[in-house]
C-alpha cells in the first residue's frame, strides 16, 4: 500500500514541489519559522529524541541521541549534511534533492538551530552537479526569504549554509573522512575516538547526518512525535526511502514505512513490480554493497533495522539490490569488491592490500574463468585477514561480498577451480 502521506518526499506527486513558492504554499519553512520563534533548541532535540528517528546514513543510529553527545557549552559547533551518496545501489539522497531541495535545506536549518550551530555544510558527491545547483538555488531563495543569514526573522539567530562538492570518493561519505576532505585534506578517515560530536570539523563539536535523516526533522516537528511514531515499527519508526535496483521491473526509490516485508517491496506492482522476466530471486543485498547477502528464503524479512539484522544482514542505507539466477556469485563478488578496491583510501594495510589481492583472485576466477587449487582457501584467508582488522568500515564492507558468496554459493567457486 502506498503511503497516504509521504514524510520524506512530502507532496511527492505535486509536479512543482521543487519550486520555492510551491513549497512555501504547502507549508514549507513554516515549521522552521515557528520553531525559531517558539521553541528552544533543547525542546527540539527532545522531540527528535522522542520521535525515535534513526540515521539513514547506514548505521541507523538514533539521531536525537547523537545530538545529545555534543559537549555542553562548547562552541562553535558545526552541522554537516552528508550527501556523498556513493555506495553502489544507494541513490535516494540524490532524488530527494531533485524532487524537493527545499525540504532538505529546511531540515538542515532546523537541525542547525536545534543543535545551536551557526554554520552548516552540505557535502555533496562531486558528480551531483545538478543536485548541487538545485541546492544552491534553494539556499539562495531561503536567504532571500530571510530564513538564512543574520538575525533570522528577527529572532537573533544566525545561520549560514554552504555547499561543498567532493572530488568523487566513496570514502568521503565516511564521517571523519568527510571532515578531512571538507578541511581541504586528503579524504581519509580519522582515528576515533575522539568522535565528531566532541572533536569534529576543525576540531570543534560536529554533528553529521544523512540528507534523508535531516529531511525528516521538519516533519517530526511539524506533525509531532506521536504522528511520526504512528509510522513504521516501535524500534524503527517513520518511513524510509528504499532504493531498489537490480533485476526488478521497476527499479527506483519508494518511500515506505519501516517494517514492510522485503517481498512486498520487490513484488508489489506499486513498487518494484516483480522480477524481470519472472526469473527467480537469487541474491538480495538489502542495505547497499556493504551488507551481507540474503537469498530468496529471506523474502519475508521485515524491512526494518531489527528485522534485517535478525536475518543476518543489515538494513544499511536501505538500498536493496535484487539479482536473479542469471548471475554467478563469483562475478557479483568480483564486481562488488572491485568497487571497494577502487575506493580503498589506502590508509590501512588490510583494506589496501586485501582488496587488491581479493580482486586479483576473483578476476582470475570470474573473468578469466579458471582458478588455482589454492584459490578458495586463499580467498577465505584473505577476507579473514581483513575482517575486524581494518581501520574503517570500508575495508570491513569489502569482506561482505566475498564472504557471502563463499558461504552461500561455494559450489560455484569449486566449479571454476575444477574447470
Amino acid at each position: 500500500m502506498p503511503l497516504s502521506e509521504y514524510i520524506i518526499m512530502r507532496e511527492l506527486n505535486h509536479p512543482d514541489i521543487n519550486q520555492f513558492a510551491v513549497y512555501r504554499r504547502v507549508g514549507g519553512w513554516e515549521t522552521y519559522a515557528a520553531a525559531l520563534r517558539e521553541q528552544t533548541p533543547a525542546a527540539l532535540v527532545q522531540q527528535v529524541k522522542d520521535s525515535g528517528l534513526r540515521g539513514r546514513g547506514g548505521a541507523g543510529f538514533p539521531t536525537g541521541v547523537k545530538w545529545g553527545f555534543l559537549p555542553k557549552g562548547v562552541y562553535p559547533r558545526y552541522l554537516l549534511c552528508n550527501c556523498d551518496e556513493s555506495e553502489p545501489g544507494t541513490f535516494n539522497n540524490h532524488q530527494i534533492i531533485d524532487r524537493n531541495p527545499h525540504q532538505v535545506i529546511e531540515g538542515v536549518a532546523l537541525s542547525a538551530y536545534a543543535i545551536e550551530c551557526h554554520t552548516a555544510y552540505i557535502y555533496m558527491r562531486g558528480e551531483f552537479a545538478s543536485a548541487a545547483l538545485l541546492l544552491e538555488q534553494a539556499i539562495a531563495e531561503a536567504y532571500a526569504a530571510g530564513f538564512l543569514g543574520k538575525n533570522i526573522l528577527g529572532t537573533g539567530y544566525d545561520l549560514d549554509i554552504y555547499i561543498h562538492r567532493g572530488a568523487g570518493a566513496y570514502i568521503c561519505g565516511e564521517e571523519t573522512a568527510l571532515m578531512e576532505s571538507l578541511e581541504g585534506k586528503l579524504g581519509q578517515p580519522r582515528l576515533k575516538p575522539p568522535f565528531p560530536a566532541v572533536e569534529g570539523l576543525y576540531g570543534k563539536p560536529t554533528i553529521i547526518n544523512n540528507v534523508e535523516t535531516l529531511a525528516n526533522v521538519p516533519r517530526i516537528i511539524e506533525k509531532g512525535v506521536a504522528w511520526y511514531r504512528s509510522h513504521g515499527t516501535e524500534k524503527s519508526p517513520g518511513t524510509k526511502c528504499f532504493s531498489i535496483s537490480g533485476h526488478v521491473n521497476r527499479p527506483g526509490n519508494y518511500e515506505l514505512p519501516f517494517g514492510v516485508p522485503l517481498r512486498e517491496l520487490i513484488e508489489s506492482p506499486e513498487y518494484a513490480g516483480g522480477m524481470r522476466g519472472g526469473r527467480p530471486v537469487k541474491i538480495i543485498i538489502p542495505g547497499g554493497a556493504s551488507a551481507p547477502w540474503l537469498t530468496a528464503k529471506h523474502l519475508d524479512t521485515p524491512l526494518d533495522y531489527e528485522g534485517v539484522a535478525a536475518a543476518g544482514s543489515m538494513l544499511g542505507s536501505g538500498a536493496v539490490i535484487v539479482l536473479d539466477d542469471s548471475v554467478k556469485a563469483p562475478h557479483v563478488a568480483y564486481k562488488m569488491d572491485e568497487f571497494f578496491k577502487h575506493e580503498s583510501c589506502g590508509k590501512c594495510t588490510p583494506c589496501r592490500e586485501g582488496t587488491h589481492w581479493l580482486v586479483k583472485v576473483l578476476h582470475r576466477m570470474a573473468e578469466e574463468g579458471h582458478g588455482e587449487a589454492n584459490d578458495i582457501p586463499t580467498l577465505h584467508s584473505i577476507y579473514r585477514q581483513m575482517e575486524g582488522n581494518c581501520f574503517c568500515l570500508l575495508g570491513e564492507s569489502a569482506v561482505m561480498p566475498i564472504k557471502s558468496a563463499l558461504e552461500l554459493f561455494p559450489e560455484e567457486f569449486e566449479a571454476i577451480v575444477k574447470g
Binding site: 582515528l191 575506493e343 583510501c345 594495510t349 589496501r352 582488522n389
Partner: protein
C-alpha cells in the same frame, strides 16, 4: 598519572594509566610488533600490525564492581574485535593477549599483505640488515608467498627528494611516520600523500623538495628502505659497519652521534640516543655535514714556508721551528708579543692545554677563540654563571615550564633546539619567542613578542621593571649586589615608555613576566641577535632570570647559543684574554682577538698561533696583520686562507680522529671518541700544543711559570658577575705544581682539568662513560627505540652536566647591568648578520649540503624596498661608516622596516668590511647599471 595493573600474556604488572597497550606491554618486556606507531609521535593506528586481543573486567551493573568467577578471579569480557595496541590506552584490570592464534593470524596477515606490494629488493636496499620489515617478517610473518601474481606496486625509483633523501615508493609501506615527523616534530610540512588505495603515495609538497633541516631523521624512522640518504646510498651493507660514538661539534647542542665506519672509512653518521641532548635525532648538518673528515684536501703533513711556497716537513722539524721562533720572540719582546687564537670547536683538552701553553710556557694572555671581527662582541659569561641548574633535562619538561627565547633563531644557530622546544610546548610548556623578526620557532610559540628594531633592551627592562614592581627583589635567594643600580636604571622610564620603546603591548609584557614568575621551571635562551645588542641586554636578561627565581635549580636558568660546538668550553677553560680556567680573572688582561690585528699590524704582537680559525678569509685587518707578523703558525684541517699566509702549517686531526670532550650550551660535558686513525700525519690539537710546550720547557724559556696567582681576582667575567671579595679561589692560591707536558692520552688531560678547574670537578673519562639507568629515555632493554635502525643505543655515556657557576656559591651576582651602548651613527638601517646553519662553515665542504649553502643576498623589508624603489633581484649596495658591499636584493615580506639582513659568514660577502661593531648602522642604495 596513577598506575594501573594489567595482565599481558598472563603476566601482571603495573604501568601508568593512559599508557597505550604497545608501550605498556614493552614495560613488561613483551614486544608487540609495530610499523606506524613510533613512541615519539601520537599513534595513528594505520598499519594494523599491533593488533592484540583486549579484555576488560566485567562490572556488576548494580555495584560497578568487577564480577568474580568461581575461582575468585575477575570475569573478563573480551572485546569482539582485535584492537590496535598503539591506539588503546590501558585501564585497571585490562587483560591483553598478544600471542593467541587469532592475534598471530592477524599479525601474520598484515605482514603478508604488506609483502604483496613490496618489491623485496633487499639485496640492493640500503636498509637491508636493519630493516623492521625484514625483522618482523622473520619473527611474525609468513615464510612463503601465496601472492602468485606478478603484480607488485610499480613506481619510478628512486625519486630524489632534494639533495639528501631518496624516495623509493615501491618499498614504502605507507606508515606515514615520515609525514608525521615532518608535520608534528619538525614543523616542516613538506611531505604528504597523494592518490589512494594501492597507489596512495608519498609526495613532496615543497619546492625545493624536502626543504627541511631535519630530513635525515625520516630515514631512521622509516621502517623500510623507502627513504634513504643520498649520502649512504650503496656505500656499504649495514652489518659491515662499526659504530664509533662521537659528538657533533657543528653547533652548541652537542648532539650524540655515531660515526658508522667500514674499516677506516666514514660511511654515514647516525644519531646516538641521549635524552638530555638530542633524544634520537640529528639535524641534517650533523648527519650530512661530516664529510670534511675525509675530504681529499685535508692537510696531511706539516708544512714549512720557504719563500713563496711550502715544503713538507717532519713533525720534529716543524715543531722545533715553532718552538724556536716562539722562544725567540718571547725572549726578545716578552709574552705579550705572542698571541693565540683557537677555534670554539676544539675539545676541552685542546683548549685547556692551549691556554696553559700560552700562559705557562710563553707568558702570554693574548688568547681568544674568536676571529676578531668587528661584531665579535663581548664574551658571554652569563650562560655559564647562571647557566642551567644541574639535573636539567628538557625532555622531562612540559606543563609548568616557561621558556623565553630572546633574540635567537634556534633552527639556524642550534637546530636540534627547535625539535626540543617544540616537544616541550607539545607537553604543555609555555614558549615565548621574542625577536625583531619572524623565525621558524615563532610558529610554535604560545606567544610571540615582536619587538621593534632596536627595542630589545627596552623590552628586557620592561620585564625587569614589572618584576621589581611585584616585589620580586625581596625574594632573591642568591648572593647579589647592584640591585639599586638596576632599580634606578629600569625605573628611569615608565612602563608605558618602555612598552612603547619595545613596540610591545604592555599586557603582553605583563603576561610574560607573570609566566616567568609563576613558572615552576623557567628557562631563558638567547642567541646571536640578542648578543649583538651587547652585554647591557644580556645582563638585563640575567637579572630577569634571577628576579623571576629561575636560577640555581634544575630545569631553570640561562642557555646561550654561541657559535661553534665548544664556545662554552673555551670560555670555561680560559681561552680568553681576561680569565684563567674557571672564570678566574687575570690581573692583567691580554689582548682580545679584536685588538689583536691592529696590535700585530703595529708591531706589538710579533708571533701568532691560530688553531682552526680562518680570519684571513674575511678580515682585511687580519690579512694585514698576518703579513706584518714575524712568525705565524696555523694549525688546521685544510689549507685555509690563513694557512696560506703562515710560516708553519700544522695538520690537525679532525673530531672523528681523536678522543676529546666538549661542553655544550647547557654545560653538559660529553665525550667523543676516535672513529679512525688521523688523516695522513695529522695529530690531535692537544698533542701539538703539548709537544711545543715541552720543547719550550726544555729550552727553559720560562723555567717557572710566571704565575699570576698573587693578586689574582676571580673573574669579573661579565661584569654582571662580580665575585665576592675575599672569596679567592683555592685554584688560584694553590701552590703551582710544575707543569706537566707528558700526557699520553687526553683522559689524563681531562683528569688534570677535573682536578684544577672547580666546576669541572669529577668530569673524568670514567665518569663520563656512565649511561644512566636503562629505560630512562623510554628505551627498551631489548631493542632500539622501536626499530629506528641499529645505531641508536647509547652505550657510551650521556655526559655530565656541570653545575652553574652561581650554584657553586663562589660568585656574587651583580644585578647592575651596564648602560645601553650609544650608537651615534645616523644611518637609517640596522644591519643584521643572520646566522645560518648552512652559512659559510668551511666544515661543510665535501658534503651534500654544499649545494644548499646560503647565497649572498641583501634582505630588506617590503616597505624599505618600496621606499628605495628596490625590486627582488636588484643589485644593491650597503654603505656603513667604514665601507660598503653589494649583492642582489631579496625583498622579504615578513621583515620589519629598518632592518637589513645579510647571511653571516659567507666567503663571498665579507660583512666585516662594513661592520663597525656588534651593531652597524647602514644605508642602502640601488646600484644602477
Amino acid at each position: 598519572m596513577p598506575d594501573v595493573t594489567i595482565t599481558v600474556d598472563g603476566r601482571s604488572f603495573s604501568v601508568p594509566a593512559g599508557t597505550n597497550v604497545v608501550d605498556a606491554a614493552r614495560m613488561g618486556g613483551i614486544a608487540i610488533p609495530v610499523f606506524c606507531y613510533h613512541p615519539r609521535m601520537p599513534a595513528v593506528g594505520m598499519c594494523r600490525m599491533c593488533l592484540v586481543q583486549v579484555g576488560m573486567p566485567k562490572l556488576d551493573p548494580a555495584t560497578r564492581q568487577p564480577l568474580m568467577d568461581a575461582q575468585g578471579q575477575p570475569v573478563i569480557a573480551l572485546m569482539p574485535k582485535l584492537q590496535t595496541g598503539c591506539t588503546t590506552p590501558v585501564s585497571e584490570g585490562m587483560v591483553i593477549n598478544t600471542k593467541t592464534e587469532e592475534v598471530q593470524f592477524a599479525q601474520k596477515g598484515v605482514l603478508e599483505f604488506l609483502l604483496t606490494s613490496h618489491p623485496l629488493d633487499c639485496p640492493v636496499c640500503d636498509k637491508g640488515g636493519e630493516c623492521p620489515l625484514q625483522n618482523l617478517t622473520m619473527e611474525w610473518g609468513p615464510g612463503q608467498s601465496r601472492f602468485d601474481y606478478n603484480d607488485k606496486v610499480h613506481f619510478e625509483k628512486p625519486v630524489p627528494l632534494g639533495d639528501l633523501i631518496l624516495l623509493d615508493r615501491e618499498r614504502c609501506i605507507l606508515c606515514s611516520r615520515c609525514v608525521r615527523f615532518q608535520d608534528e616534530l619538525a614543523d616542516d610540512s613538506v611531505l604528504g600523500f597523494d592518490h589512494r588505495g594501492r597507489n596512495w603515495m608519498i609526495v613532496s609538497k615543497s619546492d625545493p623538495p624536502f626543504a627541511s633541516k631535519f630530513s635525515g631523521n625520516t630515514t631512521d624512522i622509516c621502517p623500510v628502505g623507502a627513504l634513504t640518504t643520498a649520502d649512504f646510498r650503496f656505500k656499504a651493507r649495514v652489518w659491515e659497519l662499526s659504530s664509533k660514538p662521537g659528538i657533533c661539534t657543528l653547533c652548541p647542542v652537542g648532539c650524540n652521534l655515531n660515526f658508522d665506519m667500514r674499516h677506516d672509512r666514514l660511511m654515514r653518521v647516525m644519531p646516538r640516543e641521549n635524552g638530555a641532548v638530542n633524544d634520537i635525532w640529528l639535524c641534517d648538518k650533523g648527519r650530512f655535514g661530516h664529510r670534511f673528515i675525509e675530504h681529499e684536501s685535508r692537510l696531511h703533513a706539516p708544512l714549512i714556508r720557504h719563500g713563496d711556497h711550502f715544503v713538507e716537513a717532519s713533525w720534529e722539524e716543524a715543531l722545533t721551528l715553532v718552538a724556536e721562533k716562539l722562544a725567540a720572540v718571547q725572549s726578545a719582546r716578552g709574552g705579550s708579543a705572542i698571541a693565540g687564537l683557537a677555534a670554539p670547536r676544539l675539545s676541552n683538552e685542546d683548549l685547556y692545554l692551549f691556554q696553559r701553553l700560552f700562559r705557562e710556557q710563553l707568558g702570554s694572555n693574548n688568547l681568544d677563540h674568536h676571529l676578531g671581527s668587528p661584531d665579535d662582541g663581548d664574551h658571554d659569561d652569563l650562560g655559564g654563571l647562571l647557566a642551567v641548574g644541574k639535573g636539567t633535562n628538557l625532555m622531562e619538561l612540559g606543563a609548568g615550564t616557561t621558556v623565553l627565547v630572546f633574540g635567537a633563531d634556534p633552527e639556524e644557530e642550534a637546530p636540534l633546539y627547535l625539535l626540543r622546544l617544540r616537544a616541550l610546548v607539545q607537553r604543555g610548556a609555555q614558549l615565548f619567542v621574542a625577536n625583531q623578526r619572524a623565525t621558524k620557532l615563532e610558529r610554535s610559540a604560545t606567544q610571540a613578542l615582536r619587538y621593534s628594531v632596536g627595542g630589545e633592551l627596552a623590552l628586557a627592562r620592561a620585564l625587569v621593571r614589572e618584576l621589581l614592581e611585584r616585589g620580586a627583589a625581596e625574594r632573591i635567594k642568591l648572593k647579589h649586589s647592584g640591585l639599586d643600580a638596576l632599580r634606578k636604571q629600569v625605573l628611569a622610564q615608565t612602563p608605558e615608555q618602555l612598552a612603547a620603546a619595545a613596540g610591545i603591548a604592555h599586557e603582553q609584557i605583563v603576561a610574560l613576566a607573570t609566566a616567568l614568575l609563576e613558572a615552576e621551571h623557567g628557562l631563558i635562551m638567547y642567541g646571536a641577535e640578542a648578543r649583538s645588542a651587547g652585554l647591557a641586554l644580556i645582563e638585563t636578561l640575567g637579572a630577569l632570570a634571577v628576579l623571576s627565581g629561575n636560577v640555581g635549580k634544575p630545569n631553570s636558568g640561562m642557555i646561550a647559543l654561541l657559535p661553534g660546538g665548544n664556545s662554552r668550553g673555551a670560555l670555561d677553560l680560559g681561552v680568553r684574554p681576561d680569565a684563567r680556567p674557571g672564570y678566574v680573572l687575570m690581573p692583567q688582561r691580554g689582548l682580545p682577538a679584536q685588538q689583536l690585528w691592529s696590535a700585530a699590524r703595529d708591531g706589538h704582537v710579533r708571533a701568532l698561533w691560530i688553531a682552526g680559525l680562518d680570519p684571513a678569509a674575511c678580515l682585511p685587518d687580519a690579512r694585514e696583520a698576518l703579513t706584518a707578523a714575524e712568525f705565524v703558525v696555523v694549525q688546521e684541517l685544510f689549507m685555509s686562507e690563513t694557512a696560506r699566509m703562515a710560516d708553519v702549517v700544522l695538520p690537525a686531526a679532525s673530531v672523528a680522529e681523536r678522543d676529546g670532550t666538549y661542553t655544550n650550551a647547557e654545560r653538559r660535558v660529553q665525550r667523543s671518541r676516535a672513529a679512525r686513525a688521523p688523516h695522513g700525519q695529522s695529530r690531535p690539537d692537544w698533542q701539538i700544543f703539548q709537544d711545543v710546550a715541552q720543547m719550550l720547557a726544555d729550552m727553559m724559556v720560562l723555567p717557572h711559570p710566571r704565575v699570576e696567582a698573587e693578586g689574582a681576582k676571580p673573574a669579573k667575567a661579565a661584569k654582571g658577575a662580580k665575585t665576592a671579595k675575599g672569596q679567592n679561589e683555592q685554584v688560584v692560591t694553590r701552590p703551582p705544581e710544575p707543569p706537566r707536558w707528558d700526557y699520553l692520552t687526553p683522559d689524563e688531560v681531562a683528569a688534570e682539568i677535573a682536578e684544577r678547574v672547580p666546576s669541572y670537578g669529577g668530569v673524568t673519562y670514567e665518569a663520563l662513560a656512565a649511561t644512566g639507568n636503562p629505560g630512562v629515555w623510554g628505551r627498551q632493554a631489548n631493542e632500539a627505540v622501536f626499530y629506528d635502525g641499529t645505531s641508536y643505543e647509547n652505550t657510551e655515556g650521556i655526559g655530565i652536566a656541570l653545575p652553574s657557576l652561581i650554584s657553586t656559591g663562589r660568585f656574587t651576582l651583580s644585578l647592575s647591568p651596564r648602560p645601553a651602548p650609544v650608537v651615534k651613527d645616523e644611518r637609517p638601517l640596522l644591519l643584521l648578520a643572520q646566522p645560518l646553519a648552512y652559512g659559510g662553515d668551511p666544515l661543510l665542504r665535501g658534503s651534500l649540503l654544499e649545494r644548499q649553502l646560503a647565497q649572498p643576498a641583501i634582505v630588506i623589508s617590503q616597505s624599505d624596498a618600496e621606499k628605495l624603489n628596490i625590486q627582488n633581484g636588484d643589485r644593491v649596495r650597503i654603505v656603513s661608516a667604514v665601507g660598503e658591499l653589494s649583492a642582489a636584493a631579496r625583498v622579504h615580506a615578513d621583515l620589519p622596516p629598518g632592518l637589513v639582513m645579510v647571511p653571516a659568514g659567507l666567503p663571498g660577502l665579507c660583512l666585516s668590511r662594513i661592520q663597525t661593531g656588534p651593531r652597524t648602522r647602514v644605508s642602502l642604495v640601488k646600484v644602477v647599471v
